[in-house]
Symmetry: C2
Subunit: 256 residues, 2 copies
Amino acid sequence: MTRVIAIANQKGGVGKTTTAINLAASLAVAELKTLLVDIDPQANCTSGMGVARQQVERDIYDVVIGEQELEQVILSTELEYLDLVPSSTDLFGAEVELVGMESREERLRRAFSRINGTYSHVIIDCPPSLGILTLNALTAADSVLIPIQCEYYALEGLSQLMNTIRLVTKRLNPDLVIEGILMTMFDSRLNLSHQVVEEARNYFSDKVYQTIIPRNVRLSEAPSFGKPIVLYDALSTGAKTYLQLARELIENEQKK
Amino acid sequence: MTRVIAIANQKGGVGKTTTAINLAASLAVAELKTLLVDIDPQANCTSGMGVARQQVERDIYDVVIGEQELEQVILSTELEYLDLVPSSTDLFGAEVELVGMESREERLRRAFSRINGTYSHVIIDCPPSLGILTLNALTAADSVLIPIQCEYYALEGLSQLMNTIRLVTKRLNPDLVIEGILMTMFDSRLNLSHQVVEEARNYFSDKVYQTIIPRNVRLSEAPSFGKPIVLYDALSTGAKTYLQLARELIENEQKK
Ligand SMILES: Nc1ncnc2c1ncn2[C@@H]1O[C@H](COP(=O)(O)OP(=O)(O)OP(=O)(O)O)[C@@H](O)[C@H]1O
Ligand SMILES: Nc1ncnc2c1ncn2[C@@H]1O[C@H](COP(=O)(O)OP(=O)(O)OP(=O)(O)O)[C@@H](O)[C@H]1O
Ligand SMILES: [Mg+2]
Ligand SMILES: [Mg+2]
């Protein structure tokens, strides 16, 4: 049974792409066959995995508008148990193109039905918006993992994100649940960081992962080498905490 | 003659809101009558200025869909020369609502025509996307100021942003120019920071401001007190560099 997890938060720069890449890579290191799907037109997840724009002939855009099957755009990566579905800037046009199409929010879910069972986990990196692309990811997903940056604006947008998730469960995907809340870019020297973690725990209680991702410069360097942190610097705090997150995620699954 | 400047970059979390608030406040401190406009549904600029959601009855959403005139939604702030046009989460619906409306990208420009001459500067905070709201801002603007975070992904999205600006100048706003490129969250201890600044200077040459905004925790604390940095901690590096940016911007204007 494949578990599909969307990494979503409309606030920008909170660590969605960093979490998608490094959680997927950590699951792959644990030999769980994982598919990483980039549905952000910025394609940061694609380049963060070392895939250059020129290398990509077909991508998630072709799948969402219905011209390619998902299997035809899957790329293998340096990690044996990790595959990637790349994105491209073509996807910028999809938001407008999809508006007129029928069942426009379900196109990704339909594409995934062909690969059900091939992977243990599918991880979807979403853009910083609540538009049609994120709705496609939330409709295709079993659960949503919400990264929250340890900064003031981080908690502002959550009620809007919760509204959107509620709408999706009512109209498009009744089984969608919150996988977990991940605190990112935590700096133990700053009061602000501690305050935001406390507020998130008040708001979401035990949905907040024990694992907290610290601000760690190796995490921000890794994408410039096109590698997940576990390949760029396996001994860094960044690598250790994302491996810990993968372990916590699997333990939560086994408890259910 | 009012100068309208859009603060735009579809990459999330690069310092658009922080720059919009603190540049506008610095211009106001120099006694230049300034209007700060929040067109992001997240409304971070509104809350960063201390305006709570419950206080806002009418906002930019009502103006863009045509039910209110701009003057009716303008709020005064703690700074005598700074006014604010707030946003709200109603704006999340505007992207879809506007798709069907005629001259959907020109609604903000039309709204601004009523206030021409009242302000020396109008600063517009954009959402992290290239959708209809950002297109409205680019169509209403004389120029666009692009904040770039000193991180790897920062340079990835620039070619897409340039494409969008070119499209806007061709079809909607032939006079739109780049006001400048602002490097943000610079950390002098990190190689990555120096590399990104060098690459930005190669790409944009003298359009990159001499002023570089350092990573400064006081800047990330100020919004939790609802104040621009110049009121929260006027002696901080954050306050000094945004005042310097305002000075550099005015000097560039005088040279033209
Ligand atoms: N724990 C961390 N420590 C240090 N830097 C980090 C960390 N997590 C992410 N970053 C850096 O912060 C920036 C923002 O992270 P990222 O791009 O993953 O956020 P995002 O939510 O995907 O952004 P967007 O909203 O644009 O999609 C990136 O430059 C990334 O390298
Ligand atoms: N120079 C700085 N030093 C430290 N923190 C900063 C700096 N500039 C911005 N920040 C913090 O970084 C986070 C991102 O900044 P901000 O919200 O201004 O970016 P944005 O581009 O407006 O994001 P979005 O794409 O979501 O609109 C905020 O929490 C802000 O307080
Ligand atoms: Mg991202
Ligand atoms: Mg913002």
